[in-house]
């Protein structure tokens, strides 16, 4: 616990001392702000649904940038040698780093709350739907970061880590479209739909918090982080 906490605090400190974090937060909030203005003021639709959908897609580009340095940066700076020789288990390193990245995700999420002010001032939005959307966004973000952290452990090059993560995330986002190529009774059709990051997120946006969707995102985190810890142990 103590080791995980130390790694976590180090990660958060590293994030906030590097310009990349501020840049990424700024880009994300600007993008979200633009889509919010477009969806609410131009379409006259006093919900967050359109904004959440855009936030999901923005996340696919932002998560790889946030996660790329988690292990690839340590490898290239030579600090992985320190982490792996300190009295830390692989799980402590993996969890500490993941929670650090999730903290940044929560900061970004909190930043978008500013959009709610005009929404509540000028309209009557459904609070529960918005809460469900935010829950979905955070779960989606956690899954993206877990995948990104795993990709980051596989290479020493941060750019390769980011590109690999983006490729995996885009594939999982759009895999749902493949069901259109399958016969309505095909088992593959269900599989493609189930694997889609996007289709589960849509439920949340519509205000549906389904156990299956929550479990889906948490399972992605669990699998990616387990592979991550296993890989660290294996490469010793």
């Amino acid at each position: 616990m103590r080791g995980t906490l130390a790694v976590y605090e180090k990660e958060v400190a590293t994030y906030f001392r590097s310009p990349i974090a501020y840049f990424v937060v700024a880009v994300f909030l600007l993008g979200t702000g633009y889509f919010f203005l477009y969806n609410v003021f131009l379409s006259g639709d006093a919900t967050m649904a359109g904004t959440f959908q855009s936030m999901g897609i923005l996340l696919l580009t932002v998560a790889p940038v946030l996660s790329m340095r988690l292990f690839a940066g340590e490898s290239s700076a030579g600090t992985l040698e320190l982490l792996m020789t300190l009295p830390l288990g692989p799980w402590q390193v993996v969890l500490g780093k993941f929670l650090g990245a999730v903290t940044l995700l929560l900061v970004i999420t909190a930043g978008t709350l500013v959009d709610l002010i005009p929404l509540y001032l000028f309209g009557k939005p459904e609070t529960t739907t918005i809460l469900a959307g935010y829950l979905g966004f955070v779960l989606l973000g956690m899954a993206c970061l877990a995948i990104g952290q795993l990709c980051s452990a596989l290479t020493q090059n941060q750019i390769i880590a980011a590109v690999l993560t983006a490729a995996v995330l885009l594939a999982l986002w759009f895999v749902g479209h493949l069901q259109n190529f399958q016969a309505p009774t095909s088992a593959l059709r269900d599989l493609f739909a189930y694997l889609s990051l996007n289709l589960h997120f849509v439920d949340f946006i519509q205000g549906l918090v389904r156990t299956e969707a929550v479990a889906f995102y948490l399972a992605i985190c669990a699998v990616a982080l387990t592979l991550n810890a296993g890989y660290l142990e294996w490469r010793r």
């Binding site: 130390a6 700076a77 040698e81 792996m84 020789t85 009295p87 288990g89 010793r236």
Partner: protein, 328 residues
Amino acid sequence: MLSPRVTSPVPLIELESVSKRYGSRTVVQDLSFDVRKGEVVGFLGPNGAGKTTTMRMIAGFTAATAGRVRVAGHDMATEHAAAARRIGYLPERPPLYDTLDVAGYLRFVARVKGVSRAAMPDELDRVAAACRIEPVFRREIYKLSKGYRQRVGLAQALLGAPDVLLLDEPTAGLDPGQIQETREVIRAFGEDHAVLLSTHILPEATLICRRVAIIHHGRLLAIDSPAGLQRAVEETERVTLEVTAPADDLRRALLGVDGVSGVELRPAPGGAGALLADCRIERREGVESAIARAVAGPWNLHRLERQQATLEAIFLRYVHENPEGPPA
């Protein structure tokens, strides 16, 4: 020079027939040695000899393919965390987080090593004083000079009072004053801990190491005290004397001394008519004084000194005697 067997019997680092292979490439082969409490062992070898890989196996960064590595009695393969608590490790490249400041970095390492919050300020002060990094304590690491980076890396290794220090070229990049200070830190630490130090600077090994291990192509060629290595390398010893004497008479007189097996004469530099005589002598007592008596009577003996092989010479000799390529 102390004999290596006089040291305390507690081995803190033990390697038993350790090998490391990457695919079909063998980097370390059948390496066995130990480092005991209270000694500094120097680890010498040309680039690519397997020094860094061996250090990494002892530190637990990579696992041995075969054999056993134990630190403070803990097997690195099964009790990594327990062993890691006893190790301070400075890799070849100091493992620093550039965006953190020195204090924040050291605090992170100290916390992971189990230093309590109450003991933290004293612990940080202790290593900062030992490594003389107080002037940069609040500075971001990316702003530090190479010498300070190296010393912050050393400070990190000293945190949490480890029993074992593994230092991969700790004085690389330091200026002569800093090298002196760093050697002092290592020597003092080695008095009641175990230190394994890899270095390219051979006089450094003679100065601070009780024993020296020579490794080449992943194999251990020799491990002994610097004096022991000298004895092992030289069956004969050399004596050089500077004398003003006729060359032929001097040669005859020297060869007439019991124990002298060869003489080479050359003019002494700057000496008006003086000669330098290099004698190969048997390794036993009394030969030098016999030479002195034979020469100092008839002629003017200016100087007589025993030549000892430097660690460089010993090292090169071991390496050149084992020129075969890397083990298959």
